[in-house]
Symmetry: C2
Subunit: 457 residues, 2 copies
């Protein structure tokens, strides 16, 4: 590129002095974060010095201490732990699978695999014929063929779906429910296509949920290339496969939500929550999932303190202990909020990765949304607009007891997320500093507006 081409974001004339004051404050926030932001350096520490942080692991324990020490250094009004119990699943070994027979002839084609989270041990190497199905309809139609076999679900994320989160939603049920659905008809193991958009062969783990009514059979995800090859090959040939997994559960672990607070000067009892989850899967550094949400949260606190901003309302910055396999962090936060008779007005979650921010998604009535959308001109210069649809796994339990709480989330460009989600490629090197910091800018700007005007303006 030599000649200059760039995307001019229009900034409609602001109509009041109030809006001018806000646009100036948001400009200050943006300057502070884009120029002096520490999110990227904090993420390097979390991913490189601590690493993957499955609930129950020493790394997860260290991450909570790291989060507390670092948030204390920013000098908020309070920093505290919220102890909570979490599941304590262990992978237990190096998951293995291979094609060992084609039409009765021996072969040995090793497959790239990862056991799904919660998958139990295969108790040794298992071997069986594989039955390949495209979806649950095909499973039902062929249920009489399943007994004693290993079922493969072709759970691709269809590339034609522009928003990858939608494609993930479509395929998710094969990972979560596939194993028990197959076990119901006598399958002894399950393989799935990793819920991946990547043009590579990296398998992706992720939570699976056994149905207690059926045998708890081992389940693994195949790398995308291996999965597609197996799918095509099985159309023409009878394949035998071997697989071995080692998963088991220890007694529930003692973990901690880490909570920092800026106490409101005018309406201290109106609580706004921002958060991401500290835990990750064991197979990577948990960079985009959800290290970026963690450091977004910490960076907003840092920026507010650095700008000497004293909020009217109380703002909580929460690093949730456990989302991936149990969601116990969010449940504990909501439980204590109820116990302490708190008043929660809005919560925002960042758990879609640290990519370029595109929108603040808001779950509320159409009338409320319209009001929030008057803030779009203030956010647009930084890349986002206010749209319908927000929330997240960590903050959703708050809605049970706080009926009027508004659930929001940072929505980001979705094209790259499922290339590395739950794969070993979710590492620091795949996070871009500017994209990450721009996410923090937009969260801080939106939370500043919520603090100034509340949710019933």
């Amino acid at each position: 590129m030599r000649c200059l081409l760039f995307f001019i974001l229009s900034f409609p004339l602001l109509v009041s002095a109030q809006l001018n004051k806000d646009s100036l404050m948001i400009k200050k926030i943006s300057y502070e974060i884009m120029t002096n932001g520490r999110a990227y350096d904090l993420l390097r520490e979390l991913t490189k010095n601590i690493g993957g942080r499955l609930a129950g692991s020493p790394e997860q324990h260290n991450a909570a201490i790291w989060g507390k020490i670092n948030m204390e250094a920013f000098q908020p009004d309070k920093v505290f732990f919220q102890p909570c119990k979490t599941p304590n699943w262990k992978r237990g070994g190096k998951d293995y699978a291979a094609i060992v027979g084609i039409n009765g002839k021996a072969t040995n084609k090793k497959l790239e695999v990862m056991a799904l989270g919660n998958s139990l041990s295969s108790k040794g190497l298992m071997e069986a014929e594989v039955i390949v199905v495209s979806d649950f309809n095909e499973l039902e139609a062929r249920k009489n063929e399943v007994k004693g076999k290993i079922v493969y679900f072709h759970s691709i994320l269809h590339p034609s779906i522009i928003e990858t989160g939608k494609a993930y939603e479509d395929a998710y049920i094969y990972r979560s429910d596939g194993p028990s659905r197959a076990a119901k008809y006598g399958a002894i193991g399950v393989m799935i296509h990793s819920l991946s958009t990547a043009p590579d062969n990296e398998p992706q783990t992720g939570v699976m949920e056994y149905n207690d009514s059926f045998p708890k059979i081992p389940a693994i995800a195949l790398g995308p290339t291996d999965a597609k090859n197996l799918f095509e090959q099985a159309k023409k040939s009878m394949l035998r496969v071997q697989m071995e997994t080692f998963g088991y559960f220890l007694p529930d672990a003692d973990e901690n939500n880490v909570v920092a607070e800026l106490t409101g000067s005018e309406f201290p009892n109106e609580i706004i929550t921002i958060g991401g989850h500290l835990d990750s899967w064991d197979v990577n550094e948990g960079a985009h999932d959800d290290g970026t949400g963690v450091v977004h949260t910490m960076e907003v606190l840092r920026a507010f303190k650095s700008l000497n901003y004293h909020p009217k309302r109380t703002i909580r910055f929460v690093l949730f202990a456990n989302e991936e396999n149990g969601g116990m962090g969010g449940l504990k936060y909501a439980e204590l909020a109820k116990l302490n008779k708190e008043k929660h007005i809005l919560a925002l979650e960042s758990d879609d990765g640290g990519f370029t921010p595109r929108a603040i998604g808001i779950g509320c009535t159409a009338a409320q949304l319209k009001k929030f959308q008057t803030w779009t001109p203030l956010l647009k210069p930084y890349g986002t607009e206010v749209i319908a649809g927000g929330g997240g796994a960590d903050i959703s339990p708050l809605s049970k007891d706080f009926k009027n709480i508004i659930q929001t989330s940072l929505l980001v460009d979705s094209q790259r997320y499922f290339d590395l989600h739950h794969a070993k490629t979710d590492v620091f090197e795949n996070v871009n500093k500017r994209e990450l910091h721009l996410g923090a800018v937009n969260i801080a700007a939106f939370i500043y507006l919520v603090d100034q005007y509340g949710v019933n303006f």
Copy 2:
């Protein structure tokens, strides 16, 4: 991420059957490109099998042949070369610089550097005191101190500027004009901060333009970390530096624009041009700059042919021979268009990298823009909107003789581009398949609409 959050792109109700027909066609285009697209594979060939493609290099020659063969395989109505002369600059060796003295005390701190494009040889190792200036104002104020020294310009891309193209525009003049501006006052060499946003130490080359009135002194770009350190150190201490460059020019080279054409069935004399440039700098694979523009162009042709789309107007798919150091490809294309008395109605350039598309930028009157913006609802599901401001170096020469031609460009997310622009990190691995293909979808959709309705609808 466990719970589903995604960005719902709203698709306003289309008001006419015509729009419904168009939305169906665009959906087909998108499905074809996202599911069967070849842009990513073509880019792998161009970057990995051919490599960097500076005008005058064997690689550039090979790239044109590769482009012709591949476009012929898609069976357009015509494929042809447009021979053109291009500059033929050679780097000539391994550029070198080091800090060798601090306050008169010898040291040896090697710096990461790249000579700027067009920089001539230093004719051996040169050594001098460095004078550090923030901008041209400071250079003018201190012009009497410059003689016999090496001038360093602190040409950072300010991180607070959200659109990185704007930051690049601000800093560009130090790379293009800095050397001659310093030579005017007797400087013997120039160093600049690479025009980079990256949190790394990779230097970035790029075109520099000597003013023939002043001595043609050698000029290099420093890696960002080394540049910032030198800037800080020079505030406190007197630094001596060494530098050596090897650049020279061979006689102009014979290169080729590669042009494919789908001839219009109703208005064959109304020409629409899409293009990107084949050449790149010598230091990388020219993946985002501008391999992605090349394969965008080829993919749109492939998709139209694959969908059996017969355009009403003539569509030209142009791989320009030379943009980086001379822009001779675009000049030749415009010269032949005039010579052949063609009628050009619109041109689109893709040269901002293969990142997630954000907009189709259009350079036209406000009244025309308003009409084009009626297409935004058709493009929005694929991530773009129609906004003001488009064009590019390769297509701009067309405006000289075709006063009414509409200049447009694909505008993409700008956060990552200047991390790798003209650096050795601009390689295939840093291009994302979905982002790349989504760019082709939006170009194809927009060009389809231009073909259907022309530019005066």
